[in-house]
């Protein structure tokens, strides 16, 4: 039996969202193409020298991941807001924060996880040393869920605003800075052969914080946007 308790409801939301995402594949693929294209633009802009690109690689991959994650954010709530199913979620008797967490998790599975997979490929194209690849994957694995979680608050706040896309980036990007700093510095340290446990631990701490607080914030923001 599912759909009875809070966990059942969260599971149902997760399954529904994943089904919806897989039926609109372009919504998933477009941010990934964006990720690839942004990284491709960098050598065209700064020149193909291996030494320059190698230094820039961690930052470039992380900045591109940040932008790609931000572009896909609207998918968390926008279409549900437009067709009214978001209102049904808000008035349902289940804890809204948990349902939001399920939606964010579904969104991360289709938008964040592919970035984790693509990251090393793009890193390699920028001559990132092999020894940094594991750290890159790990940092993206820890960091991209934070991006989705913080972003959910931003989307929840702007979902009622017409053309909220640019506004969303204005709200969310400053809050992404710590993730960028720790993510990119972990990869840089790994590339330089330095210990990486510090920044990765901090990313983990940020993830724990975001995982516990962001769903509550996003739920409160949804209630406000829909009132």
């Amino acid at each position: 039996m599912s759909g009875t308790g809070p966990l059942g409801a969260a599971g149902a939301v997760l399954r529904r969202d994943l089904t919806l995402f897989f039926r609109h594949r372009s919504d998933i693929i477009n941010p990934l193409l964006f990720f690839i294209i942004v990284v491709t633009l960098v050598p065209l802009g700064v020149g193909p020298e291996e030494s320059t690109l190698r230094v820039m690689a961690p930052g470039v991959v992380w900045v591109a991941a940040l932008l790609a994650a931000m572009l896909s954010l609207e998918g968390i709530f926008r279409s549900d807001f437009d067709d009214g199913s978001l209102e049904q979620l808000v008035i349902s008797p289940q804890p809204l924060a948990l349902l939001v967490l399920a939606k964010v998790f579904a969104h991360w599975l289709v938008s964040g996880l592919p970035l984790v997979v693509l990251g090393p490929v793009l890193g390699a194209s920028l001559f990132l040393p092999d020894r940094a690849m594991g750290t890159l994957v790990l940092s993206l694995l820890l960091g991209t869920p934070i991006l989705s979680l913080i972003g959910a608050i931003g989307v929840a706040l702007t979902v009622g605003v017409q053309r909220g896309g640019v506004l969303l980036s204005l709200l969310v990007l400053p809050l992404y800075i710590p993730v960028l700093i720790f993510g990119a510095s972990a990869v840089s340290s790994a590339a330089a052969g330095l210990p990486v446990i510090g920044p990765l631990a901090l990313l983990g701490a940020l993830l724990a914080l975001a995982l516990t607080l962001a769903p509550l914030g996003a739920a409160a923001a949804l209630r406000i946007s829909l009132s």
């Binding site: 913080i150 605003v161 506004l167 204005l170 990007l173 400053p174 800075i177 946007s225």
Partner: protein
Amino acid sequence: MKRVQRGEVAIPTSITRRLWAFFHRLASPRYFYELAGKLVPWLGWGTVLLLAAGLYGGLWFAPADYQQGDAYRIIFIHVPAAWMSLFVYVLMAGAGFIGLVWRIKIADVVAKTCAPIGASFAFLTLCTGSLWGKPMWGTYWVWDARLTSELILLFLYLGYIALESAIEDRRTAARASSVLALVGVVNIPIIHYSVDWWHTLHQGPTVFKLGGPSISLDMLVPLLLMTLAFKLFFFTMLLVRARTEVLEREANSAWVRETVTSQ
């Protein structure tokens, strides 16, 4: 116990009860408008006096720094502005929290009014900092940890203002932007420390250090005077702007029409 009728203020028997009555009255837009109107001249003249004293102390009385010469004198603007930019953000989030939890209209007004003033303080901090940086560091901008944090604070203010102005309904706008301000308050320390940490990794060409081991009293007194002056200036501006905002929000009520037509 005598039951207090609706609209009747309980007879104040103790300090706490009197305080509560004051807060209840303060929440009424009309009372706030009138009280703010009375406070503004006092705060305004206080600002002028403290500013005059602080500027005299800072520009003439305080000795030149043995390393930086007269260029350091910009700190009398720069440092108070930087402190205020943080203080105003916290105040804004606090007012937003009060507005969210107790649904007090005045708190919404205060939070909204804080944002442009706080953003101006942050902007002033960045401007004065870069003007000071040119003779001292030889460049207008360095990716120093403090400069970067301040820039991000400015972005947070601008995001708040953008969200507040993007939502049509005033009540929703106030509540949504309050949530954003609270998220920002949780994030400010994280951003600050992460930027600090980032800076120690990417050691910049110059590191900010204050002239001596400790600031001399001749410099400290004008600095504190200027800080107080900035604080009073902020509250003056806050009340002036909040009064306008109250008039705008309460435009349909009878007392606003009376106030506006009688002037």
